[in-house]
């Protein structure tokens, strides 16, 4: 037994040694151990793994920054798009509101036109009925030995509306010696029948000053400050062919001197004293001639210089005043102009106080007149 155990022990030891040798041989072929010093490692450069790790870290940081930047840009773009959309929406809303307003105005005009058309139809029916009645009357008059003057009175015609051809066709509509075709058709206004009035800019007309729409005045300079005085108490008449006033015009404008108002009562009082209002209560301008610079018949405008005589404080001097003349849609003439004069030339002593407060001798007088046509001037020059 002991011998057996020894044999087994020997075999085991032998097997262990053999196995160790085999294992050593295998391991020796697969493992290579390299030992180098630090100098050699430095000579071979940085560790690629570390470099790769550093690159990856840098790339990660760059990617983060890029993401943040792109995010900011996108936010800004979003805000800009939002603002633009809001502005466009507001502009479109305003435009839509304007269009709505225009549509409402057009609708209102359309409604009025429809109403006026209906009214015109009704009036036309009335006129036709009147003509029928008149024809009946004429027929009856023809049947009986009665004169035509017994047809229905002109009062009926006066209530008849604007129907140009029919009105002109009626004998009562043109009792004047002039042919009916020479006058424009009568028009209505607020149920009133307006008289037929022809108007030609290039014809001599009588013009009457409208005090309510006219003003004359002056601009003066004083030691203290400049000031103006004006009055609407102006009246007068003018006869002229406003298209060719140089061919002959005449007229006179008068102003109530006491009504000149400078806005200061004390100064007005001094002015009235200086003008001698108690003795010569009126200022006047006599329109004697005209020097035309330009005239536009289509626009009904003329400019030039009025030649006339100005009377202030009982003293008269000839003056020339550049003016602009125009006729508006209401057929009212507007005459505007100004000229400088010396008060002393008219015997008016410029007010002076304490030897230092004074008004300059030269003042600018101006007119802003509006006149209504009273009709063509018979036998006037200039046509």
């Amino acid at each position: 037994m002991t011998r057996l155990l020894q044999v087994i022990g020997v075999i085991a030891v032998t097997a262990l040694v053999a196995g160790s040798l085999v294992a050593l041989s295998v391991v020796n072929r697969r493992i290579q151990v390299t030992v180098q010093d630090e100098a050699e490692a430095a000579a071979r450069g940085p560790d690629p793994v570390e470099v790769l790790r550093a690159d990856v870290g840098q790339l990660s940081a760059d990617l983060g920054a890029l993401t943040e930047g792109v995010g900011g840009q996108l936010q800004a773009l979003h805000d800009a798009v939002e603002d633009g959309a809001r502005a466009r929406a507001e502009a479109q809303a305003a435009e839509i509101a304007g269009l709505k307003k225009q549509i409402q105005e057009l609708q209102a005009r359309l409604d009025r036109s429809i109403q006026e058309e209906a009214a015109a139809r009704a009036r036309l029916d009335q006129v036709l009925a009147g003509i029928g009645a008149r024809l009946d009357a004429v027929a009856a008059a023809s049947a009986a030995p009665e004169p035509i003057v017994d047809v229905p009175p002109a009062v009926e015609l006066a209530s008849e509306p604007e129907t140009a051809p029919l009105t002109q066709a009626e004998p009562e509509a043109a009792p004047q010696s002039e042919p009916a075709a020479a006058e424009p058709p009568a028009k209505g206004f607020l149920s009133f029948k307006l008289p037929s009035r022809s108007f030609a800019f290039d014809k001599p007309q009588r013009w009457s000053i409208l005090p309510a729409l006219s003003r004359v005045g002056f601009d003066a300079k004083s030691t203290l400050h400049d000031f103006s005085g004006s009055s609407q108490k102006v009246e007068g008449e003018l006869v002229a062919n406003l298209a060719r006033p140089e061919n002959g015009c005449r007229g006179k404008i008068t102003v109530d001197a006491a009504s000149l108002d400078t806005g200061e009562a004390a100064r007005d009082e001094e002015m009235r004293d200086a003008l001698g209002v108690s003795a010569d209560p009126r200022l006047s301008f006599e329109w004697l001639g005209f020097r035309t610079e330009s005239s536009d018949g289509a626009a009904m405008k003329t400019s030039g210089t009025v030649l006339g005589k100005l009377t202030i404080h009982g003293t008269t001097h000839e003056i020339e005043m550049p003016v602009r003349i125009s006729v508006d849609a209401s057929r009212r003439a507007s005459v505007e102009g100004e000229v400088e004069i010396r008060m002393s030339a008219f015997g008016v002593k410029p007010p002076r106080k304490l030897g230092v407060l004074s008004v300059e001798d030269t003042v600018k007088i101006w007119i802003a007149l509006r006149a209504r046509s009273l009709g063509e001037a018979a036998g006037a020059a200039g046509d």
Binding site: A119, P161, S191, L194, P195, H225, F227, R370
Partner: protein, 141 residues
């Protein structure tokens, strides 16, 4: 004393224009406006229209032959009017009467003529194709 006062006054006067602004009427303001002031017009209602009116301004084509208009609008829907017109050598009055009613600020005369009616204070503004008239309410005296 005068030699002292006079230079002082001159000094004051030399500086005064800087303190006192000019009161010269602007050239554009010389002409009298046809419609005085900037009225705030609103659409008329029937209650605004009743009463006696006299025209204060007429503009447009109608103004060429129409000098003045008077209207009396009665509560019972009737009206009477007078217009001073100029057609011949002398002005003449036209008078008329009829019925009126107001619908949507449109004043209807006798169902034949209409005008847009606006009011501002005691003024009534009537607008038609032929012109615009501003009437002012007046008292019967």
């Amino acid at each position: 004393m005068l030699p002292v006062i006079r230079p002082a006054l001159l000094g004051v006067l030399a500086l005064a224009p800087a303190c006192v602004h000019a009161k010269v009427m602007a050239q554009d303001d010389r002409a009298v406006a046809a419609f005085a002031g900037e009225q705030v017009w609103r659409p008329a209602e029937a209650a605004d229209v009743h009463g006696l009116y006299e025209s204060v301004s007429i503009e447009g084509d109608a103004a060429a032959a129409l000098w003045r208009i008077y209207y009396h609008f009665a509560d019972d829907g009737t009206y009477t009017g007078a217009a001073l017109t100029l057609g011949g050598s002398q002005p003449e009055f036209q008078t008329l009467s009829g019925t009126w009613h107001l619908t949507d600020s449109t004043l209807d005369f006798d169902s034949t003529t209409t005008a847009r009616a606006l009011v501002a204070g005691d003024e009534l503004r009537l607008e038609t194709e032929g012109g615009v008239v501003v009437l002012r309410r007046t008292a019967i005296q």
